[in-house]
Symmetry: C2
């Protein structure tokens, strides 16, 4: 899609809520299957959501999951909010392409395709068939002193993510997982989550990839300074994204919008993708029904964001790697949720009196 406001407004306007008839039909179907009613627990609601997304019951079993890893750098890195050098972003993109990162091992486990989007690394990573380069700018500006990016840049990054997701779906992906890479991006995530939920900087800022206690106090002060500087207005989601977000957050917003538009379920990963989900939901509330919270990150902002979205995570394994790892591990749960609805016998096929 074109990287302009008009294209983006058209995308948002085309997103429908999930089909509540199909959702309710799935819940009703579960009550007929060979098992005690409700005994598949959370899988039953998940299956019903998948039916609502697909608009039919039973829903198709997702067989071709794909993780989109949006990568970009952050001007706020200069403030020492993380012990990791900025160059790691680019190096990790290289490793994703080489198949040697955590996300690759997990993607192989669940049979998912890995796709990487450079939407603004400080230095361009080496070209690779798994890497799409749609660079909006070479990292964001320092959000404590200026908007992280212009509105135009934010729109371009959203459109880059939406285009990537649409292309993956056109190539057969039937379940999207959101992933991220960007040294210092838990700082921008904290800003976004505070802006959209009204929470205090102290409630949403966590150690990220390894800030010590002193460093966490500093990081929290940086988040607070950014919020005080910009006073982002949650009624203006694009403005929030542009002033205190990251380019990868913007791209992930596009992934979520495109997934919802094309009725392909989207599994969220950790705090960075939770922050992007808040932005997408603020911009287009119908998106939320299409999102599945894969896991609960231990970053405090993740829980604040998920509570605000009223999304209950499927599990909590204290994963805080990002890259999409936590979302990918929930892929089999989504598959099982659809498969049980499709493949289990119904009670009244059993030749037993009193079983139903």
């Amino acid at each position: 899609m074109r990287g302009d406001r008009h294209a983006l407004d058209a995308l948002r306007a085309a997103i429908d809520p999930i089909d509540d008839d199909a959702r309710r039909a799935a819940l009703a179907r579960h009550a007929t299957l060979v098992k005690p009613p409700g005994s598949l627990g959370r899988l039953e609601q998940l299956g019903a959501q998948l039916a609502g997304i697909a608009g039919r019951c039973p829903p198709p079993v997702p067989e071709s999951p794909a993780v989109v890893i949006a990568a970009a750098d952050h001007g706020v890195h200069a403030h020492g909010v993380t012990p990791w050098p900025q160059e790691i972003t680019r190096q990790m993109v290289r490793l994703f392409c080489a198949g040697q990162a955590g996300v690759n091992a997990v993607a192989r486990t669940v049979g998912a395709t890995v796709a990487v989007l450079d939407v603004g690394c400080a230095d361009p990573p080496p070209a690779h068939p798994l890497l799409r380069s749609d660079r909006v700018r070479a990292g964001t500006a320092d959000l404590t002193t200026a908007p992280a990016m212009s509105r135009t840049d934010a729109i371009r990054a959203v459109c880059a993510g939406a285009t990537m997701a649409s292309d993956l779906i056109a190539d057969g992906a039937d379940l999207l997982v959101t992933g991220d890479m960007g040294i210092a991006n838990t700082t921008a995530s904290a800003c976004l989550i505070a802006a959209f939920t009204g929470a205090d900087a102290g409630q949403v800022t966590g150690p990220g990839a390894g800030a010590t206690e002193d460093a966490l106090a500093h990081k929290t002060a940086v988040v607070r300074r950014a919020l005080d500087r910009h006073r982002p207005d949650p009624a203006d989601p694009l403005g929030v994204l542009a002033t205190v977000g990251g380019l990868e957050h913007a791209a992930l917003v596009g992934v979520l919008l495109a997934g919802a538009r094309l009725r392909v379920p989207v599994l969220l990963d950790g705090v960075i993708t939770n922050a992007a989900a808040l932005c997408a939901a603020a911009w287009c509330p119908a998106v939320t029904g299409h999102l599945i919270a894969g896991h609960r990150s231990p970053e405090p902002g993740a829980t604040v964001a998920l509570d605000h979205l009223r999304l209950a995570p499927l599990y909590d394994l204290r994963l805080r790697l990002g890259e999409g790892t936590g979302g990918l591990l929930a892929v089999p749960l989504a598959q099982a949720a659809a498969r049980t609805l499709r493949e289990m016998a119904v009670l009244d096929e059993l030749a037993v009196d009193g079983f139903s």
Copy 2:
């Protein structure tokens, strides 16, 4: 193996604790991989456990999981502890073989083999290639008035499970999942859990597959009566199993012992398999290190049992179907835990100053 006490004692004596050197080597290896230390959360401890079980680091990735569904009936069914007719046990065995039950849908999702063991259904299910018939007796006796089975029968059932597990492993299974089928078996599970943990009947008895509130009070009274009648001694695990257990519990004890003996990890399912794990651990404490708690069942006895075993479940999706479904859904977590240890690059291969 022969179904006698001597064979069983030899099996127990041959079980070693997990290899703590390999376990610690895996934790040390995790600290060298391309990620923030500890950022794979619970997967890191799980991978270390798999290394300890395999006796090497990194551990092999389990590629051929198999679920063993032990099926049997219960004399206590006559007391109306469940709304389901006893005949359902046999009918569900037939469905497992036909591939139409919940466990089959989940097994297909994670690529697991399904194997069914009739160790004592009231009426024999129809023969089928997926079904092994090793019937010790046609269901247990009424445990409120007599021992559920003789010690000799309990030993035979344990050996039936151990033989089934050993045969699956000989055929290539490298990860076992425990499953169960037996109408009324949450009642026997509550008795076992109370006996091994010292908990009161009221703490360990739950609604199972659908008891109403009134029915739950009655079921709890039945459990209490059985415990008062037999006063099972946790220092005599075989005696506990014989007096208040089920034939499928006994067979599952055998599966756990054989898995531990052959150093193949075993994923527990819900409350029935948790009860079997208590028995196996009481009989042979070295078994516990080889067990992985797949999920937390909402049955209250499950949490009492897992706490006693000091096993932390991997997730909690309010699953209470049994059959092995909850254990199977954790298969990809075990695979990812091993795969990240094997396949992720190490930090010092990255050409970045200050990354390690």
